[in-house]
Symmetry: C2
C-alpha cells in the first residue's frame, strides 16, 4: 500500500512556491535535480505547513498500516458496537486499529502522522475546528462516523438514514392507532436528531395528525432525558399514548418512568427507540426500535479511511446506510 | 523506557547453549567478543525459539510504546467499560492501545513483537494454550483481565473479589428476610462464577438456610440464561422469592421473565446482578448489583503490562480489586 502522499500539503506548497507538485515531491524525496534556491523555498514552506517527511511516516517492516479511532466521553454501547465493526473490517484488511480520546497537545495531528497513522476515524463529532485544521495541515485523512453536526463537504462521513428511520418509527405507531404521539429527542442542534424529528413530523402530517408544541421535546441522548422528559409528557392535560425516543437510552428512561407511575408498557404507553444497541434487545419489555447498522457503518468508515489514505477519490463525502424498524414488545395498539 | 528484554527466551537459550545470559545478550546485540562457534550455536537456538531481534522490536522515533488489547466475540458493555479504563490509563502513560481479536496465524505473536507491541492485555480468557505458548516464545508479556479460568502462575491477571461479592449480594437478600434465594449463574467451569456461587453458599450456610439443589443453576453469562433459568426456577413447587444472578445480563433476563409472568420486581421477586455495567443503571427497575470496578481493573492491567514490558518483577501474578454492593430498586423485603 503506498505511503499516504500528504497530497493536500504538497499541492498547497507547490502553489505557494510557484512550482509543480512534481518539484515539491522531488524536494521531499531528496532528489538532486532541483535548483538550490527552489529547494530551500519549498523546504521552508513544507516546514510552515507542518509537513511530515515520509521517512518519519513510514512504519517499519512487520508493522501493519494503522488507523487511529477516536471517541469522546465513555465508551458506551453505541460507540462499542461501531468500534466492533471497525475492528472486524480492519482484520480483513490487515490493518491495526489504535483507539484513543481526542488530544489537545499542539502537535497532536503531526504526532499521529509521525507514529505511522494512515488515517483517523472519529466516532460521532468529537473534534473542534482546531482539531480539524491540524488534521488537514498534517495531511491526515479523516472519516467521521455518525456526525452530530452537518459535516463540511471536505470532511468525509458515514451515517444512516435518520429521516427515513423517524418516518418508519412514527408510521408504526400511527398504524397501531396512536394519534397522541410525542417525540422525545436528543440535542436540537444535532443533525441526526433533526432528521429523526422531521421524519416524525412528516409521518404525522401525512396522517393529518396535529403535533402540539409540547409533544416535541429536545434533550440529550441520555437515560436522564428519558426519565425527566417522560415525567413532563405524562403531566400534560392530554398526555401522549406513544413516545418515539431519539435513541435507545432515552427509551429506557421512558420505560422506567412509566414503571414508577404504574403504567404498563406497551398496554398503557407505547415506546419506540433508535439505534438497536444491546440495551434495546435486553430491555424489559424488549424495545421496538429503529436499527442503525452500527457494525456495518464502522466497516464502511474503515474502508473509506483506507481509500483516502491511498489517495483515492471517494465518490461522495457523505454516505448513509439504511435504517430499519425492528418491532419487539414495547409497542401495542392504542387502548380504546 | 527500556526495550522489552525478551528475558524468558534469552535465559532459555543461555541454558540450552550452556552459556551465560550475558553471552547470549552479546550475540543478540552484535558484539564481537564472542567465540564464533558459540555465536552460531546461540544464533541457531534464538532462531528456533522465535526470538525477535531488538532492531525489529524497536519502534521508530515519534511512535509511542504500544500495547495490544485483545477480546473475543462482540465488544459488549462489560468489555467496553474495561477497555475504557485501559484507554484512559494509556493516555496518562503516553502509550498507544491497539485493539483486535485473537488471531490464529502461526506467526501471530512474533508479528505483534515485530510490529512494536510491548505487551498484550486479554480481556477475559480469550487464548488457547497454543496462543499462550506463542506469546511466551515471543517474549511478549501478557496480562489477563478477569480470567474465566484459573490462570497459570506464569500468567499475570487482574480480577475482582468475586467471592466477597457473592457473599455481599446474598447477605443483602437475607437481610431483607428472603430465605428462598436461588443462584442463576454463568458457566460451572468458570472460576469467577464458582467464586460468586460459593460466596452465595457461604452466606446461606452462615444463616443456616438450606440451599435446595434446584436453586443453583449454572448457564452462560447471557440474557438468554436469565430468561430460561427464571422460567425453570419459577416453575418449582417452592419457587424462590429472590434470585442472585451471576452477571447483569442474566439479571435483565430475570426481570423480563418476571414481567411476562405478571410478577412485579421487586414486590414479587427480588433480583441482584453482578458487574454494574450501564445495563444495570438503565434497567427497569434500576438493578441492585455487585459492582466490579471495571475501569480501575483496566487501568491496573495497563500499568501491570507496562511494568512487565520494562522487565520489572511484579509482586503477585494475580491481583483482585474490591467489589461493592450497589443497592438500587430491584430488591425489597420479602412479602409476608
Amino acid at each position: 500500500m503506498p505511503v499516504n502522499a500528504n497530497r493536500t500539503t504538497l499541492a498547497t506548497v507547490a502553489r505557494l512556491a510557484g512550482v509543480s507538485v512534481a518539484t515539491v515531491s522531488k524536494v521531499v524525496n531528496g532528489r538532486s535535480d532541483v535548483a538550490p534556491q527552489t529547494r530551500s523555498r519549498v523546504q521552508e514552506l513544507l516546514h510552515q505547513h507542518d509537513y511530515v517527511a515520509p521517512a518519519l511516516r513510514r512504519t517499519e517492516a512487520g508493522a501493519r498500516p494503522t488507523i487511529e479511532v477516536q471517541f469522546a466521553g465513555d465508551l458506551r454501547s453505541y460507540t462499542a458496537e461501531a468500534l466492533d465493526g471497525i475492528v472486524d473490517a480492519a482484520a480483513e484488511h490487515a490493518v491495526s486499529v489504535v483507539i484513543s480520546k481526542p488530544d489537545r497537545a499542539p502537535h497532536w495531528a503531526r504526532d499521529l502522522v509521525a507514529a505511522g497513522r494512515r488515517a483517523v476515524i472519529a466516532v460521532t463529532s468529537v473534534y473542534t475546528a482546531a482539531h480539524l485544521d491540524a488534521l488537514t495541515r498534517a495531511g491526515l485523512p479523516l472519516v467521521v462516523l455518525d456526525p452530530l453536526h452537518l459535516p463540511h463537504s471536505d470532511v468525509h462521513s458515514v451515517g444512516s438514514t435518520n429521516f427515513a428511520g423517524g418516518l418508519a418509527a412514527t408510521r408504526h405507531l400511527l398504524s397501531l392507532g396512536h394519534r397522541r404521539v410525542a417525540y422525545l429527542g436528543g440535542p436540537a442542534s444535532a443533525v441526526c436528531n433533526q432528521a429523526r424529528m422531521h421524519g416524525y413530523r412528516a409521518a404525522m402530517e401525512a396522517e393529518k395528525t396535529p403535533v402540539p408544541r409540547s409533544y416535541v421535546r429536545p434533550g440529550e441522548f441520555t437515560y436522564q432525558t428519558g426519565l425527566l422528559g417522560t415525567e413532563a409528557l405524562l403531566d400534560l392535560t392530554e398526555p401522549p399514548t406513544a413516545i418515539f425516543a431519539g435513541n435507545d437510552e432515552i427509551a429506557l428512561g421512558v420505560i422506567e418512568t412509566a414503571r414508577t407511575r404504574g403504567l404498563r408498557i406497551p398496554e398503557d404507553l407505547s415506546v419506540v427507540g433508535f439505534d438497536d444497541t444491546l440495551l434495546a434487545r435486553m430491555a424489559s419489555p424488549p424495545l421496538t426500535t429503529v436499527r442503525q447498522p452500527l457494525r456495518e457503518m464502522g466497516g464502511v468508515a474503515l474502508r473509506t479511511a483506507l481509500r483516502l489514505a491511498d489517495g483515492e477519490k471517494i465518490e461522495s463525502h457523505h454516505i448513509e446506510l439504511a435504517t430499519e424498524l425492528v418491532v419487539r414488545n414495547s409497542t401495542a395498539p392504542v387502548q380504546p
